[in-house]
Amino acid sequence: MEITIDIDDSVPLFAQLIGQIKQAVLCDEICPGDALPSIRQLANDLELNNKTVAKAYRLLERDSVIQTKGYRGTFVHPDAKANSTVDLNAWVVTKLGETIGAFRESGVTDSEIRIAFGDVMNRRSS
């Protein structure tokens, strides 16, 4: 199974990687339990920074598309196919849209929403 990334594409490199790995799972080109290359191997093969591949792997692991088994390496998750269809970004956009719509209906201005959003995000990260 070969993956291709385009360094001139407007889509971020880590997002291209995530998309291609999920696509490979959905097309049954890689199956649950299959071993995946190490971060270093994939980064060197694609001539990317290790951090880019690590970020893609971290997000795929969060979405339960892949799983890391210590020194044995990284493998396709048993529920990878079902989880590959879940798009957390789209879900976040939908939920935020609904919430912001409710605020606007209540008369909250956009700048108040932005300030409140920033405050909440800052409080979470601190």
Binding site: I7, L36, S38, Q41
Partner: protein, 283 residues
């Protein structure tokens, strides 16, 4: 006297093999590639003008010719004013230094190879990059039995050194032998890891070619580890048993074996040259 005759016969074969036969074989393969895959049809294979490739071939040939002449001079001196040790100095040192002279054309060619691949990468204007979604692991390329043998040979060598150390030979380097062989093995392990997980040097190389190249390289390196360790053990054994006369012969034979095994890396059969065409049929 008989050992000396045998030694000069073995040394002659070292001179001819490393400075004549193998360079000619390598040059004939390079010429075959240039003639079969010319720059007009395979431009990506030539990041430099063809004249530069021809000049590099001439330099390589001349350097080997020089090494061949040096070898014949050493043989001539040995035949007409025979001494117990080569050049009335130390046969082992002469063979080792001469081997380095014989190998310098290959080392220079290897260094130029890195520059050549860098030029290929710079000339590569593609914005897409491809990778296989399969892990590369050591045992995909080399049999676990061979790795087991390499580990066994290393452990046996360490035990052998500890055993010989109790005899308190004045010439014996003791634990420095273990240090030297460990350093050699660590170097080989580093090269293996680099081959398995490092960046590919040729930007156009297909995955199949890369896998074949890794398999060949890893096997050669593991065999080199085994051979190097066994040779040092044999040399120490010969010295301890007072067979010093046989040491130059064994060293010369070992050098030839190293050269033959190294030569195996220069295989061109099976390489997919279509990727070097302007519009590759197989990407």
């Amino acid at each position: 006297m008989r050992e000396q005759m045998i030694f000069y016969f073995v040394f002659l074969s070292q001179v001819l093999l490393i400075s004549s036969y193998l360079p000619r074989a390598i040059l004939s393969r390079v010429r075959y590639v240039v003639e079969t895959y010319p720059p007009s049809k395979y431009p990506k294979l030539y990041p430099v003008p063809i004249e530069a490739v021809e000049k590099a071939q001439r330099n390589y040939k001349n350097m080997n010719l020089f090494a061949l002449l040096v070898g014949f001079v050493l043989l001539f001196i040995g035949a007409y004013s025979p001494t117990e040790e080569m050049l009335n100095w130390d046969s082992i040192s002469v063979i080792t230094i001469y081997f380095l002279v014989q190998h310098s054309p290959m080392m220079i060619a290897a260094t130029s190879g890195f520059t050549y691949f860098n030029l290929m990468r710079r000339a590569d204007s593609r914005t897409t990059r491809k990778a296989e979604l399969h892990p590369r692991r050591l045992f995909y390329f080399v049999s676990p039995v061979i790795i087991g043998v390499a580990i066994f040979v290393y452990v046996a060598f360490v035990s052998f050194i500890i055993y010989v150390r109790q005899f308190d030979f004045s010439w014996f380097g003791g634990y420095w032998n273990i240090f030297g062989i460990t350093a050699l093995n660590l170097l080989l392990v580093g090269i293996i890891v680099q081959n398995l997980y490092g960046k590919k040097k040729d930007p156009y190389q297909t995955y199949e070619d890369r896998v074949r190249h890794i398999e060949l390289t890893v096997n050669i390196l593991v065999f080199s580890s085994i051979m190097g360790t066994v040779y040092v053990a044999i040399a120490i054994g010969l010295h301890a048993l007072d067979f010093q006369d046989l040491m130059p012969i064994s060293l010369s034979l070992y050098m030839q074996l190293v050269a033959i095994i190294g030569f195996r890396a220069f295989r061109i059969d099976g390489i997919n040259f279509e990727v070097y065409k302007e519009t590759p049929a197989v990407a």
